[in-house]
């Protein structure tokens, strides 16, 4: 129910929401859509799942990169701390710079999230948002809802102005039940 609501809300704003069976499935989905270097910053849930080992067989995977390299990449990959069903939002603790570079500069952003980590709405997200603030003294926490968009020319909705032009959310069961990791 919550997941279905999440999926609909996300699709309404132009996100592709795809259930995947396992990490291999996720890798094939990502690799089939990337024709250049792919950024994978350190993400505990993805490391545990063995994403990099599998994906680097199929694409040029960068796990360490600076902003110039990020700018040249075809895509960035991240996990998610949790999702918000009502708006189709993923919440991503992005204090580590590579996470921000990977999710802002490339034209595509792939997110892997465990559907168990989806809360009902923005109000229900607040306690988790508060907890994320307790992880470290500094923080950059991102609510991401759909691809980058603008309507600044004649109010015509146009996708992909400064940020990612595509947002893909891959739903993977048993990836992580911990809201404090991504």
């Amino acid at each position: 129910m919550t997941v279905e609501r999440f999926r609909q809300a996300a699709e309404n704003v132009g996100t592709a929401v795809v259930p995947v069976a396992d990490i291999g499935d996720a890798c094939r989905y990502i690799a089939g859509r990337c024709d250049g270097p792919v950024l994978l910053p350190s993400q505990p849930s993805l490391e545990r799942g063995g994403l990099s080992a599998e994906l680097e067989q199929q694409v040029k995977l960068l796990t360490a990169f600076d902003k110039s390299a990020a700018e040249q990449a075809a895509a960035g990959i991240s996990g998610a701390n949790f999702g918000i069903a009502e708006t189709g939002t993923i919440v991503l603790e992005s204090s580590a710079e590579p996470v921000r570079l990977a999710t802002t500069l490339p034209p595509k952003h792939f997110v892997l999230i465990d559907p168990a980590k989806i809360v009902a709405d923005g109000r229900a997200a607040v306690p988790y948002l508060q907890n994320l603030h307790h992880l470290a003294p500094q923080s950059f926490i991102a609510y991401i809802t759909g691809p980058s968009r603008t309507a600044d020319i004649e109010r015509v909705l146009t996708i992909g102005v400064h940020g990612p032009k595509e947002l893909h959310i891959l739903l993977l069961d048993n990836l992580s039940s911990d809201f404090m990791e991504s």
Binding site: S139, T145, S148, I153, R155
Partner: protein, 714 residues
């Protein structure tokens, strides 16, 4: 000074009126906005949400020092450097000095109205720092050398061909005017700026005291780049953006995107606290807390609620004046209703003076404000202040002070007017043409003649047909009803008698005072309020009924404000407010009228008068009454959009804008195919009836009470 200011303002109005493409775009935007907003807010109790936001913001205003101290402590603990700027100059100097000290050559900015407010770009350029706006709309107007015409969509006044021309100049090649292509050009062009910039400048949508962090609500993703890539981040934050907790920030987030753009949420919400990692080390975060008039606004008893604003821009989206002339005319830096108030406090009363008068007072903004600000009431107050500062013009002052306060003189002059007008009325009820320099007044609407015999002089001849009255009702007729449309009084008596009410017309009643008050003459309005309170309570009626919603608002709201601090009058004014009710609500709610003899077979469309719907909250009642008397009621588009009357607004202050707004209304009426447009306001009747007649339209304009009276005809 003020004469030249007025002249320049007139020129801007005329120029905007001569740009139909702008008006079309803003009208289409207004329509699309309302739909998107309705969808985004579906299933939510908007009134409850906005009350909560208003109360939370008030709490921050009252305990400001506590929250700002908490914010500063937490922000510093997270590694931010805080600077409190009392003025625009202080903020500019701090940021420019910082850029100089760090040898910055290039700054990238995400959209910040506060930076527009203080003209930060100019200050940085003067200090030799190239400054690039990265929000698409802001970049467009930066290339065009203009300022934003909307708080959320800064380049809404520009069109794709103009953007293509600007971009072509920038890239040195011919860019086609395809929007998708133009957006891609912006992406490519701005990439290098992000990567090379030494400093990133953002605003903030909220500043959270409990975390010491800020939140940025954006769609394009540029703010994420601006706050991530350069080594230094400067956040320029108006001190009114403070909220106590993340939960309170969520309350703002709940209404802001929904009310601003009709989105459930924007693509990105970034919660940024402290000096996050950047390259080899940590980012340098400077938070500039900007006062620049905000503390003065917090201290203003009449205007302080404006600090609740979350800068969603909705007050512009629904404003008929904004839709007609755009934000470069109806705004200074901040635009539309909230812009008028903020301009007065941030940029000075002089900058706000013309804008204060440009508001027609329709309260469309009040209805959609997500922070529960009575914008119209505050603007009205500013009009009084400007009236006191600059005067209201000797002609008006003479009429208000010497004539209107003296009821007998005022009414004698109206009676004399009725005789003097004969050469132009030629005995007709309306004036279609006026001679000489008055001719422009009847160019686009005929004007009603002053009645040969005002209602007050007919009253003794009107028979009351009621035995054993249930209620005693005193009629507050208002000037238009009394002297221009006396037949409305006869209709009212006929209908109220039928439902068991005896009606009196207290003859000592005078003008409700709105023309004086809205022109900034509070003193005359107060004298008139006292006269009317005394006159209407005489004889202890059960209800005081009105046919004019502006009079209703005056009796219910303005009298209380004018007399509330006067112990001799406060209690009586409260009693008058309590007893005052408009005719539709009296019939529907108090007298329980749900069926009338169904003798008519008319197709009627209903025009909501601004002050009836958004002042008294009455809009279903007249529709129900009209349907109950056998009329087929069909809805027009924008039924509750202002007709453009606005009293002196359409006669003297802004007749050109009023005319354009009337044209919109007439088009909506015609499109329904109705025989008749009903309304509950003599002012709207004058405007819409005059416009229909001048256009030779077969559609009749009538007051609801007249249509109800007709259904009682044998």
């Amino acid at each position: 000074m003020s004469k030249q200011r007025s002249r320049e303002y007139r020129q801007r109005v005329n120029q905007a009126l001569a740009t139909p493409r702008l008006q079309q775009a803003l009208h289409a935007f207004g329509d699309a906005y309302l739909l998107a907003r309705e969808n985004a807010l579906a299933g939510r109790d908007f009134d409850k949400l906005r009350q909560a936001v208003g109360e939370m913001k008030d709490e921050v205003r009252v305990n400001h020092q506590h929250y700002i101290d908490q914010f500063i402590t937490n922000a510093k603990a997270a590694g931010a450097t805080i600077f409190i700027a009392k003025t625009a100059e202080e903020a500019n100097r701090y940021i420019a000095d910082l850029a100089e000290e760090k040898k910055c050559r290039l700054a990238v900015k995400s959209k910040s109205m506060a930076s527009e407010e203080i003209h930060l770009n100019r200050a940085l350029e003067t200090a030799g720092v190239e400054t690039v706006e990265t929000d698409l709309g802001e970049w467009i107007i930066q290339l065009a050398g203009q300022r934003p015409s909307h708080m959320v969509m800064p380049a809404i006044h520009m069109f794709r061909d103009e953007v293509a021309e600007l971009f072509s100049k920038k890239t040195g090649q011919q860019e086609p005017d395809d929007i998708e292509h133009l957006v891609e050009v912006a992406r490519q062009q701005l990439r290098r700026s992000y990567l090379e910039a030494d400093i990133g400048i953002s605003g903030a949508n909220v500043a959270v005291a409990e975390t010491g962090g800020i939140a940025l609500v954006t769609n394009e993703g540029n703010a994420r780049l601006v706050t991530t890539l350069p080594k230094i981040h400067v956040a320029l934050v108006g001190i009114e953006k403070l909220v106590p907790t993340l939960d309170d920030a969520q309350s703002v987030l709940e209404v802001l995107p929904r009310n601003a753009t009709g989105q459930q949420i924007t693509s990105y919400v970034s919660w940024i606290r402290g000096a996050v990692p950047c390259g080899e080390g940590k980012k340098e975060l400077h938070i500039v807390l900007l006062d620049n008039g905000r503390s003065a606004l917090a201290e203003s008893p009449h205007c302080k609620d404006a600090l609740r604003c979350v800068k969603c821009g909705a007050c512009a989206n629904v404003c008929p004046i904004y839709q007609t002339v755009g934000g470069h005319v109806f705004g200074h830096i901040y635009i539309s209703a909230i812009g008028i108030i903020l301009t007065a406090f941030f940029h000075g009363l002089d900058q706000a003076a013309e804008l204060v008068r440009a508001c027609i007072g329709c309260r469309a903004c009040v209805a959609v404000c997500p922070s529960n600000i009575d914008l119209e009431n505050i603007i009205l107050h500013l009009r009084e202040v400007i009236g006191e500062e600059e005067g209201i013009g000797t002609g008006k002052a003479l009429v208000f002070k010497k004539v209107m306060r003296n009821r007998k003189l005022f009414h004698s002059l109206l009676r004399a007017g009725s005789k003097l007008q004969k050469p132009v009325t030629k005995g007709e009820r309306t004036i279609r043409h006026l001679p000489l320099f008055f001719s422009s007044l009847t160019e686009w609407r005929s004007l009603p003649a002053i009645a040969a015999t005002p209602l007050r002089d007919q009253w003794q001849t009107i028979e009351q047909r009621v035995e054993q009255a249930r209620y005693k009702v005193a009629f507050f007729a208002g000037c238009l009803n009394d002297f221009v449309y006396p037949e409305l009084g006869r209709d009212l008596v006929k209908v109220l008698n039928r439902f068991g009410c005896e009606v009196t017309l207290p003859l000592e009643q005078n003008c409700c005072g709105v023309p004086a008050l809205y022109s900034g003459d509070k003193e005359t309005a107060t004298v008139l309020a006292q006269q009317n309170v005394a006159a209407m309570l005489e004889g202890e009626p059960d209800f005081i009924v009105t046919t004019c919603p502006t009079c209703t608002m005056s009796l219910q709201r303005d009298f209380l404000e004018l007399l509330g601090d006067n112990p001799a009058w406060a209690e009586k004014a409260a009693m008058l407010a309590e007893k005052t009710i408009d005719i539709s609500r009296l019939l529907h709610e108090k007298l329980g009228v749900d069926a009338l003899p169904k003798t008519v077979n008319r197709k009627v469309t209903y025009h909501d008068s601004c002050h009836l719907k958004r002042g008294a909250g009455v809009w279903q009642e007249p529709r129900a009454l009209l349907a109950a008397s056998g009329n087929e009621v069909v809805e027009m588009a924008h039924a509750d959009r202002c007709c453009g009357f606005g009293g002196s607004y359409s006669f003297t202050s802004h007749p050109d804008i009023a005319r354009r707004i009337l044209t919109d209304k007439l088009n909506d009426i015609e499109a329904t195919g109705a025989d008749c447009v009903a309304m509950d306001c003599p002012g709207c009747m004058l405007q819409i009836g005059g416009g229909l007649e001048k256009a030779d339209s077969p559609v009749r304009a009538a007051h609801t009470i007249s249509l109800l009276a007709e259904s009682l005809d044998d």
